[in-house]
Structure formats: C-alpha cells, structure tokens
Symmetry: C2
Subunit: 352 residues, 2 copies
C-alpha cells in the first residue's frame, strides 16, 4: 500500500473544468491528508487555481496538455485524434506508468472508457469492462453495475460482474458478505433471458464466500434497496440509470410546480424548508458521484460531468478508498478463487 494515494486528475474534464476540479481536489485533501495529485490540463489555467490552495499546491504537480476532449466528442474520434495528447489520455496513462494510483475524470464517459480500454490492460479472467456506481435507495445505498460500459453479456460475464461488484461493495459499504441480485423482469426462476438464468444457476452452485446471492430482482428493487449489489448487463443498466434520473427530475419539477402554485403552499414550503433540505440531501447526486470502471488493471473513476467541488471531492474519495482498501487485489483473489473451482484455464474462465 502506498504511503500516500496518488491521484491523477483530468483537470479539463466535465462541464466546468479546472475551476471546479481543483477546488474539489482541495476539499478531498482537507478530509484525507494522505493524498497527492497530478493535474493534467492547460497549465496556464490550472497553475493559479492550484496555487490558491497552498496545502494542495504542496502535494501537487501540474502537467501541461494541449488538448481537452469535449463532452460531445464521439468516443471513437476522441480516441483516434486525441490519444496521447489529451489531458484525459495522459491522466489514464499516469496510472499505467505507475506514476499514479487512481485516474479520475469528469469528461465524456464514452471517450474515457474507450481510452481506458486501449491504455490499460484487462484483469486476468475478465475481457470486458464495467461501470459500477452507488445508487441511493430507501434502505441506504446499493451498488449497481454495469451501467453501460459493455453492451451484451453472457452468463460468465454476469458472474464476473457479480464477483467484481461484491468486492467493491465490501469496501464501500464495509460489509463482509454483501447480498446480491441479478436484474431480471420477474423473480420466477423460469423467467427472463437465458444468460441470466444460467448466471443465476452458476452463482447458486458456486456459493462464493464473499457474496450472498439472493436470486433475481426487478427494476423496482433497485430503489427499494432489496440487495446490496444489483448486477445487470450494460444496456439494461444504462436504461435503468437514465430512467431513474429522468423520473427523479420529473417528480422534482412536479414538486416545484405544485409548491409554487399558491401563497399558502409557498408559506407551507417555508415552514417545511428544513424537511425539504433533508429531502434534497437524500436525493443529492453529488453524494453518490463517482462511477468506478471495473475489470481494468488500474483504478479509473468517472466523476459526473456536471459535478461541483463537493461531487468532485466525493469521486476522488471513492478512488482513494478503492486504493486504500485494495480493490484490485480483492477482485483478483475472488476471481482466481472462483476460477479454481470451475476447472477451466484462466484466460477463458470468466469471460468468452
């Protein structure tokens, strides 16, 4: 374990760039003193911002990058034209070179994933990556993966997602043996896609030591918090994530409209404002910021493009926790342990 966790930051990522990323780093550092930073981006813009936080400046270096990937760049194009020169690429490369323990960017998700796949290697037993994120629930928080890194999944990939997700949940939720469900469109064993049914059978039979498999869950079980980890293929996972975001925004809009509609309801709002502040805190997407790319031989964190310094700090801290608690070796051990019971060679055992 390194004495300080070294964070590579894409200073140009997200809707706001270094003006938000740098204060976010300063905030994370104020809570965890054993961090150091390498900022990649426009040095002229980044240097004064870092200098404004002396404690941060003392543990940071700044590396100039000419190019910043735009939020609307196509991933394939970004990869073709901005490889090796963009702040995003250099951020990931710092992890590959061993100069940093974590790469964090609030930039274009597709480009970040494409670059991470090209720059880093996949872990043994895994051949396609996943994005995992913490999802607020009625019971607290759950981990959901894959949120869109990989489209399509066979049974072995779903099992690999279960193993990676439960390893991450053990760290972020400090649980010995997180409960886990496979997202399906019914809880009957006979329902759903063949690959999900096969994955379910494998997980039941494997009875893995660090994972309490609970069977199928449905879309509404995510918000209920029925299980600690929800595993799904990336297409359905992304649809679920975006649909939930859309529904939350829709209800917030209804609420604003309803409460602004009369003098009495405005007064009511004022009286209830603490309750609303508590509600907003629960729904605060900044608190759960930080999608983790899993399956790669490095820790890459995607911060939300619209994050403010609080959200940025949270994303950095998730990366920090993953390193401190040795996510990659936990995943590696769990994968190797499972593979050893499957009697198949490593390269093909958990993916096809």
């Amino acid at each position: 374990m390194p004495t300080s966790v070294r964070i590579a930051l894409d200073a140009m990522g997200g809707d706001h760039g270094p003006e938000v990323i740098v204060p976010g780093a300063a905030l994370a550092l104020s809570r965890h003193r054993d961090m150091s930073f390498i900022f990649f981006g426009d040095a002229q813009r980044v240097t004064p911002l870092v200098a404004a936080h002396p404690m941060l400046a003392a543990v940071s270096s700044i590396r100039h990058a000419d190019i910043a990937i735009r939020m609307d760049d196509k991933p394939s194009q970004a990869l073709r034209t901005c490889r090796r020169t963009s702040s995003m690429w250099l951020t990931i490369e710092a992890v590959k070179k061993g100069e940093a323990d974590v790469a964090c960017s609030a930039g274009n998700t597709g480009a970040l994933m494409a670059m991470a796949k090209v720059c880093l290697h996949m872990m043994p037993y895994i051949d396609r990556p996943a994005i995992a994120a913490i999802w607020p629930t009625m019971r607290g928080e759950s981990l959901v993966l894959d949120l869109g890194a990989t489209i399509g999944a066979d049974a072995q990939h779903l099992v690999a997602l279960a193993i990676m997700g439960s390893a991450m949940a053990r760290i972020v939720f400090a649980l010995e043996r997180p409960t886990l469900g496979l997202l399906n469109i019914g809880t009957e064993e006979a329902k759903g896609l063949e690959e999900i049914k096969t994955a379910s059978r494998i997980l039941r039979e494997a009875a893995l030591p660090n994972l309490d498999y609970r069977g199928f869950v449905e879309g509404d079980d995510i918000g209920k918090g029925t299980v600690d980890v929800v595993v799904t293929e990336g297409f359905a996972g992304n649809i679920a994530l975006k649909t939930a975001e859309g529904t939350a925004k829709q209800i917030a809009a209804y609420l604003r409209q309803a409460l602004g509609s009369s003098l009495w309801s405005k007064l009511g709002y004022l009286l209830a404002h603490r309750a609303f502040a508590a509600l907003e805190a629960k729904m605060d997407p900044r608190k759960v910021n930080g999608g983790v790319f899993l399956g790669l031989d490095g820790v890459v964190i995607k911060s939300h493009g619209g994050s403010d310094p609080i959200g940025t700090a949270r994303a950095i801290e998730i990366g920090y926790e993953m390193v401190k608690d040795e996510l990659l070796s936990k995943i590696q051990e769990a994968l190797a342990g499972h593979a050893s019971t499957q009697d198949v060679p490593p390269a093909a055992s958990l993916s096809s």
Copy 2:
C-alpha cells in the same frame, strides 16, 4: 363499428376482485353510455354487486366461472390447468368468439399474456405481441412499448412496434403524426445494439406517413416526454418501467419522512396540502391505468392489479377508445402500407 362497445370483464382479476371491478364498470358506464358488459367470475359474488348498480345491471350479463387465476400463479401453470375454465380465459375467449369487443383483466399479467397468445391469433405481419402503456411525463403523456410482453427483438420487430405504437398514439393522444424515438443508450447514430441501429435506418428510409421518427432517445427522455412514442424491446422496457416505479416510490417515501420530521414541517404540509394534492394527482397511477396488448387480433387490456374503481374505469375506457377509434384496422392498414413498400411477402415482412 358496433352500436355499443361490448366489454368482457374478468371480475375475479386483481388484488380486490369483483368488489372493485364492478364499481369500476359502473363508473365507466356513467361516462360512456354506449357500453355493455359481460362479467366472468363467481356468479354468487358478482350478481349482487352488479344488481347494486341498476344502470349497469341493465346492460350486463354474468357468466359463471369456477376458477380464478391467482396473482402469484405461474403463467405456464395457469395456462396448463386453468385454460377454458378460468374467468380470465373466458374473458379473452369472449373476444375470440365475437361476443365482446374488448377483454379487460386486472389479473396476473404473465398469465393474461400467455392466454391471450394461445386464445387469439397474431395479426398479419406480426408474430410476437407487445404491451403498450401511457407514461406520465413532464410534457404530458407518452406511449411506451414493449413493457415486457416479448423478450428480445430484431430490427423488424422494433419497426413493427413503432408502427403499432404510433397507431395507438394517434388514437389516445389525438395526434395526426406522433413523434417517435427508439430507446438506446446514447443518441449517437453509431452507438447501441445492432438491431436498434438497423431499425433506425429502416424507419428513416421508410418515412412512414403516420409517424414522425426522431431517432434515438435515452432513458431520461421518457420522463422528459421528448417524443410521443418510445419504442424498446420488452426486457429493457420492463426494466425501465419497474425502475421508474421504484424511483417514484422511493422519492414519495423520502418526502413523507422529510415532512413528518418536525412540527413545523407538519404545519407546512397542512398549508401546502392543495399543492400536494395536485402533485399526487399528477403522479396518480390510476389515471394512466390500462396496458394494451398489441399485435393480437383482438383488444386485450391489462388493468393494474392494485387498481381501485377509478383505475378500473380508466382501463375499461382505454379499451373502449381503442374499439371506437378502430385501433386494429389502423394498425393493420399501417402495417400493410409499410409491407407493400418492403417488397416481401406478408407472413415474413415485419417479423422474423
């Protein structure tokens, strides 16, 4: 068009059975006098309930059925053991026999779909059914399909869903040319599953007269109401529906908790209660009750299992509108029109 729309009702369906279904029918009738009803179920229980509504009794007949499908019966088992004898089967069969124009049940969705598929025929050009439902949005309402009738969809099935969905949207939203999007995990043309990309190309090239194709939409576009009709394969559609339901319940629970947490917020709630009533009205699932099974040669409506009489009436009324506005022939014409441009024989033209 029949002079009166004849509704076959599964009186035993749903969580509450005839005590809710019968008053729901009475309510629908009070708003649309040109309806008549056949109730299928336990005659001893249903008869006095119908008799309590003289206007309803005047246009209703009651047919005894010994068996009621339970909400937790497995569809395959229900089909095997309760075919021909259950209130649900007899309700659908009334449409097949031409005794009714609409079959409506609040029972087990899987069993209803399985029985409808066995009892009724598929429309020409279609070989697998879909469930469509009205989804409340920030802009009003949209139609979303397939919500889980069929798992997996090739490009031709997605195109068929688009044609059926836009025909239904023309009726329920009284639009000449509804806007339509394909649900995907990005709006870039290069992203997503192959079959969705192919369907997109077909829809662009076909430039159908009754459908304004707008390209890909993402999960959050459903709640935004970006398009009038959202088309998706049944697995992803069901995940989206259930996830949205879960999110709405989650936020409602947060809200109750937040507003019950102090005396001031309780007082605030009292002052704002009209605003909250307006909010609840917008979120009221009863108003959008009534999933329509599409692709079959009969109108089958699924009412929500937990519906009260208001929700039941709404589901009945959706069936009534589908018959009055000739949904089946509108779909048929649109399918035949598209097939004629595709230069393929009817049986294989829009499904494979």
